[in-house]
């Protein structure tokens, strides 16, 4: 508990923690002090002099800046004396000397602090008549941001944000005195992954959004608080709608999640919502070889249940499977698995990185814990590319809280530059290193415990030096771990796939347990709702609430809720289904046909339904395509990487006839239920019914599924509360704008035991070839990127393979050349790049590039893949 200080601001007594700035204390007292350069999230600067207030002291009153002075006991502050008013008026006058009055065409106009403060505190008339200074106007400082130097009032907020939070000081001050301007360095545009935040914090219209440029005026917008669904951080944002188009996204404060920041992908990738290529009506294919044609919902849904029913009748329920994505809401994920488990009667449900990955069910204990950790261990996880706002938090912890970073990754990721250690591994080799560390730490712990009994133990490390043999290359990592008092372990899908991944996760969990921090081990998935999809049981072997399908008690409980019990045997995994393990496939938001091999497997299916926003490669092969809504067009909840369930309400009208994922599933289930009848042996009478209802599937007598009745997303969440134990206490109304973290107490799963790991080191690729390394890239060619604004699309690189510069020299290859990369699974033609972050002997091909090169080469199979690189 920090010490409290009481001070008086304009006769209001207010008590705040010691160290608070006067400007914040005044805010707490309900008194606004105008500010430009000061920002609650940035270090004090004291440049604009707008917040000058009178401090009354024993030697009379003196003016000082409220944004730099910290409170002290008994301080008396006056914010509305004549002197203060005169200073504010003068200051605004000075600022407006050079600030152009082009408010009518300025995107900030209407939400501009300078406008507001001039109205509130300005003189009303200008004293100065001379010509304004001419500087560079509206020129790009990056693909996403425009700078207008004339409008800039030199508050340094952008400079400080990029320095203090991003650690990329890419905007600087140039010239001196009255000629001072802000600018980027020559030839170096701003490329920070969260650069868009400088637009939000700019107190004037100097920095503006290129994607939304001139597409809105603040007062015309309908503003809906929502959450981002592009990565698992779940940043809070605001949807700004005008005439049924999503015109802009800005960050929304949620101190527990994103502070008040948003990454550039979340901010600028939104034009897909209004994209003309969005699916607006259902499409059906009448016969193989024919083109897809628009259809009504009734017809399309009828076609789906008819075909699925037929295939289930002839080949059994296990011939049906469902592939979903972890981008969809909890409601959609829950209904998707319920559709298959309760109605179809199969456990064939999965998503990419679903059952193939051994995930920790509880996620991060809290994002806020990052700042409280002294060691952050990142295994196969690159926050800079996968979750930029998490990256901000980690950088902040490293730079401000002195946290060390232990990076275990095949590539020297950007965060590896911070104090700590970088441990290069080959893909799949994480288990060997982690096991080595875990074993050494266990041994050290045992030695310490033994040693501490007879006499007070010497500090752990001195003891360890003698008793524990650690491989030399693991020594820096070992020392960090041994010294850590509050470590946090985060791993990503790249280290956790397949059999080797399972070993790696076990070894990592052993490591965490050996240090006594088994509860601070977290898995962070690739897609936004990875945590929610797992909670909802969108997995072939796991029921809602992280319960295995083999658990009879859980099946019985769900049976009571659903009317029928889910099947007992685990279903097929994503890979098995995508390889053609089923006859009919229902794909919701996924794109298994992105690779040539994947598309070929889908060709063999008898029936394919795709529910998506766009006509993806998979949807092009489908027999029925159902148009779904984006996150902005439908209500739903999403669970982020710290188990925070957050609501994303509908912010704009859905495109065409598209419907929410959960609503489509609910309608489908309704038809499914109506289309079947219990076989009583009687011939059913033909009554007046639509055609599709006349033909009813006969099912065996037995427990019947309960009817589906979900008028709203809220109704689905209410049922989720009954099906998923940790969600039992969640109430729709209580989610509010900040969301609610579900409690792990309903799900005690933190590993406590050390499981032995039997692991061998991974062999490097044979001479002349390279080990394939893949992983996320922020500006990849992910499912929505091709439909973003032009400025955003430009950020996606042409598909490339990067090698270490030394390897490039050895192999006599030149950067920029076209090369053919061949693995046992396929070959692709890529542009060659040199990249020092790529370790020697490895070849880096990011995931989700155009044409899916990494996936084609077999990067996501969870096993080491060696590739040959040859000039075309």
């Amino acid at each position: 508990m920090p010490d409290l200080v009481t001070l008086t601001v304009d006769d209001v007594k207010v008590t705040v923690p010691a160290g608070t700035l006067v400007v914040d204390a005044a805010k707490a007292a309900g008194i606004e002090i105008p500010i430009f350069c000061s920002h609650p999230k940035l270090d004090p600067l004291g440049a604009c002099r707008m917040c000058l207030v009178e401090f009354v002291g024993p030697r009379g009153s003196k003016l000082d800046t409220a944004c730099t002075v910290r409170v002290s006991e008994g301080m008396t502050v006056r914010t509305s004396t004549e002197q203060v008013k005169a200073v504010r008026e003068a200051n605004l006058g000075f600022i407006l000397i050079n600030h152009p009055l082009d408010c009518p065409i300025c995107d900030k106009g209407g939400e501009c602090p300078l406008q507001d403060q001039t109205m509130a505190y300005g003189a009303g008339v200008s004293q100065f008549v001379e010509a304004k200074r001419q500087k560079q106007k509206h020129y790009p400082i990056s693909d996403l941001i425009l700078l207008d130097q004339e409008r800039c009032i030199l508050c340094w907020r952008c400079i400080r944000y990029l320095d203090e939070w991003e650690d990329k000081p890419q905007i600087g001050l140039f010239e001196r005195g009255g000629e001072t301007v802000i600018d980027t360095f020559p030839g170096q545009p701003v490329d920070a992954a969260t650069s868009g935040n400088i637009i939000d914090i700019c107190p004037v219209g100097a920095l503006t959004n290129r994607v939304s440029r001139f597409r809105f005026r603040p007062w015309e917008l309908k503003k809906t608080p929502s959450v981002c669904t592009l990565c698992p951080v779940g940043c809070n944002l605001r949807l700004d709608e005008r005439v049924h188009e999503l015109r802009r996204i800005v960050a929304r404060e949620n101190l527990a999640v994103n502070d008040e920041w948003l990454c550039d992908k979340g901010r600028f990738l939104h034009q897909y919502v209004d994209h003309p290529e969005r699916l607006r009506t259902p499409l059906v294919r009448d016969a193989a070889g024919e083109a897809l044609r628009p259809a009504t919902w009734d017809e399309a849904l009828h076609r789906v249940i008819e075909k699925l029913g037929d295939i289930a009748d002839t080949n059994g329920a296990n011939a049906l499977g469902g592939i979903a994505s972890a981008r969809v809401s909890n409601e959609a994920a829950y209904l998707f698995q319920k559709f298959f488990r309760a109605l179809v009667g199969a456990n064939n449900i999965d998503f990419a990185d679903g059952s193939a990955v051994k995930a920790q069910p509880t996620g991060l204990s809290a994002i806020a814990d990052i700042a409280k950790s002294d060691l952050i261990v990142l295994v196969g996880f690159d926050p800079s590319e996968a979750a930029p706002v998490l990256d901000l938090h980690i950088k902040r912890a490293a730079r401000r809280a002195g946290a060390k970073l232990l990076v275990i990754n095949p590539r020297r990721i950007a965060l590896a530059k911070y104090p700590g250690a970088y441990l290069p591994v080959l893909p799949g080799g994480e288990a060997w290193d982690l096991n080595g560390l875990a074993t050494a730490l266990q041994a050290a712990r045992a030695a310490n415990q033994a040693g501490s009994k007879p006499a007070p133990a010497p500090t752990g490390k001195a003891k360890l030096e003698t008793k524990v043999a650690v491989m030399a290359e693991l020594r820096p990592a070992y020392d960090l771990l041994a010294a850590a008092k509050a470590p946090l372990f985060i791993y990503g899908p790249d280290a956790a796939r397949g059999q080797l991944g399972k070993l790696a996760v076990t070894a990592l969990s052993n490591l965490a347990v050996a240090l006594g921090f088994g509860d601070r081990l977290a898995y962070v998935g690739a897609e936004a709702n990875s945590q929610g999809a797992r909670d909802m049981g969108l997995l072939s072997d796991t029921l809602p609430g992280h319960q295995p399908v083999t658990d009879a008690a859980v099946r019985e409980r769900l049976g009571k809720l659903w009317g029928v019990q889910p099947p007992a045997e685990p279903g097929q995994s994503y890979a098995a289904m995508a390889a053609g393990g089923v006859k009919a496939l229902y794909v919701m938001g996924a794109n298994p046909a992105a690779t040539v091999a994947g598309a070929e497997a889908l060709h063999k299916l008898d029936f394919l339904v795709v529910q998506d926003l766009f006509l993806t490669e998979t949807a092009q092969l489908a027999d029925v395509v159902l148009p779904a809504t984006s996150f902005a067009e439908a209500d739903g909840t999403y669970t982020n990487l710290e188990r925070r369930v957050q609501r994303g309400p509908q912010g704009i009208k859905p495109a065409g006839e598209s419907q929410a994922d959960w609503a489509i599933l609910a309608a489908l289930a309704e038809k499914w239920l109506a289309s079947q009848t219990v076989d009583t042996g009687e011939v059913s009478k033909a009554i007046e019914q639509p055609d599709w209802k006349k033909k009813r599937r006969k099912i065996k007598a037995g427990p019947a599924p309960k009817p589906w009745n979900y008028p709203t997303a809220q109704a689905v969440l209410d049922e989720i509360g009954k099906a998923v134990p940790p969600y039992a206490s969640l109430r729709w109304d209580a989610l509010g704008e900040a969301g609610v973290q579900w409690s792990t107490s309903a799900l005690v799963r933190a590993p406590r035991r050390v499981e032995p790991v039997d692991v061998a080191p991974i062999a490097a690729a044979p001479a002349g070839s390279f080990t394939l390394v893949s992983g996320p890239l922020l500006w990849d060619n992910g499912p929505l990127m091709p439909y973003g604004a032009e400025q955003v699309r430009k950020l996606t690189p042409t598909p490339f393979v990067a090698l270490n510069p030394a390897d490039l020299t050895m192999a006599a290859l030149a950067e920029g050349r076209q090369v053919t990369v061949t693995s046992a699974y396929g070959n692709v033609t890529l542009t060659l790049k040199a990249d020092a972050s790529v370790q020697p002997g490895t070849a880096w091909v990011p995931a989700n590039l155009a044409g899916a090169p990494a996936e084609t080469l077999g990067a996501v199979r969870g096993e080491p893949v060696s590739v040959a690189v040859k000039l075309v």
Binding site: P44, A86, A90, F94, F128, L154, R176, G177, G178
Partner: protein
């Protein structure tokens, strides 16, 4: 006429004065030997007892400043401010070029007193000869064992390095100088923390003006009592006065503090040129207010000049005779400040710009009464609200010009 045998400038007129041999031949580094036998606390006590106040302009008691340095800090720094930029000031340049070892000895003693093992010399970029002499002096000192490891077998280590400025007046402000030393844009820092708590790279730092440091060996060598016996009640010791402007013999004059201004002008600097009379004097560099001819008997000391409505500043006496156009003086001084404003805070960056604009109009004879009124409003509005004293300093000459020579301004406007 005060007769004063120069102490600080004793060496400057000797042949080869910059050489270490010359310095050693005239008792150089003796004070250092004496210091190394004392404890750091004794050195600080001695300096405190001497009553020495900083010669860089603000006049902060030097001993007290050293006392603020936390004793337990692992790393401490000393920074020497040779960024002599105040218009009318040229004393440091003379010492740096003619007697760099006098400063260096002060640097070593001061570092010993505060426990710094690293000293940085920040020198004005335009002092080309000064830079050369400093480098040579440092190299020689290393060779003679006055710098480096285990100085004179005392166990005290000190390294000194030199950093050239890039031409910014603001870098004479101690925190801006520290920023510049660190390789950043020369702009003042937010205070607190003061350099004594967190200076160069966040470590406790003592920043001292060159001339201040030259006093240190003499205080140690001759004793605090000797030093305290010179000067007035609150201004002890000798001071170098840089006399320039309309005098017959401009130059650096070392005299005890408290010497009357009239004596400096008429007896040491040879009087006003062509026998004219004095119209105004800037007693302490361009950011101090003017003194008029009736104030010439004021003793040049911190407290007496403050009472006379001005300040001792750097002791740069700029004399202006009866033919001087005070509007033009104000305009020229203002244009200097506007050029040197760092651009950080609004009132200085834009307010200064505006003052110059009004002065330009008034000086050109196109001005109206409204221009004068606005100018006056600005001189009242800017001081006290700027980030650093530069903004306040820039208003002083105009404000005092308006106060003392108002008629000249009024004649120009219609």
């Amino acid at each position: 006429m005060t007769t004063w045998q120069p102490v600080l400038l004793a060496n400057v007129n000797r042949p080869n004065s910059e050489k270490i041999t010359t310095y050693l031949a005239h008792g150089g580094y003796e004070a250092l030997r004496k210091t190394l036998k004392m404890s750091p606390d004794q050195v600080i006590a001695e300096v405190k007892a001497s009553g020495l106040r900083g010669r860089g302009g603000a006049g902060f008691p030097t001993g007290a400043k050293w006392g603020f340095i936390p004793k337990d800090a692992p790393v401490k720094y000393l920074a020497v401010n040779t960024d002599e930029g105040e218009p009318g000031t040229f004393k440091d340049r003379l010492i740096v070029e003619r007697d760099p070892h006098a400063i260096l000895e002060g640097v070593i003693i001061a570092s010993y007193a505060v426990g710094a093992h690293r000293a940085f010399v920040y020198i004005r970029g335009e002092f080309f000869l000064g830079v050369k002499r400093w480098i040579k002096a440092i190299a020689d000192a290393y060779q003679y064992g006055f710098l480096g490891k285990n100085i004179l077998e005392s166990g005290f280590d000190l390294d000194v390095s030199l950093h050239r400025g890039a031409g910014a007046y603001i870098c004479g402000e101690e925190t801006a100088m520290i920023e510049s030393l660190e390789g950043k844009r020369g702009e003042p820092r937010l205070k607190p923390p003061y350099p004594a708590q967190a200076g160069i790279w966040g470590q406790p730092t003592v920043v001292q003006n060159c001339e201040t440091l030259v006093n240190i060996p003499h205080i140690i060598g001759r004793g605090a009592a000797w030093f305290a016996s010179i000067g007035t009640e609150q201004s002890r010791g000798p001071k170098i006065f840089c006399v320039s402007g309309h005098v017959n013999r401009p130059g650096n004059y070392e005299l005890p503090l408290g010497t009357p201004l009239r004596e400096i002008i008429y007896e040491h600097a040879g009087g006003v040129r062509m026998g004219r009379s004095v119209k105004a004097v800037i007693p302490g560099g361009a950011s101090t207010p003017f003194l008029t001819a009736d104030k010439l008997d004021v003793p040049m000391a911190f407290e007496t000049l403050a009472a006379a409505g001005s300040a001792l500043g750097t002791g740069a006496v700029v004399v202006m005779d009866e033919t001087t156009d005070m509007v033009e003086v104000a305009r020229r001084v203002m244009s200097f400040y506007v050029h040197e404003s760092c651009g950080r805070c609004v009132p200085c960056r834009l307010g200064g710009h505006n003052m110059l604009h009004e002065l330009d109009i008034i000086a050109s004879g196109q001005g109206k009464r409204a221009n004068l009124a606005r100018l006056e409003a600005l001189t009242r509005g800017i001081p006290g609200i700027t980030f650093c004293p530069l903004g306040t300093g820039m208003c002083e000459p105009v404000a005092s010009g308006l106060k003392l020579f108002r008629s000249e301004f009024e004649e120009r406007v219609s």
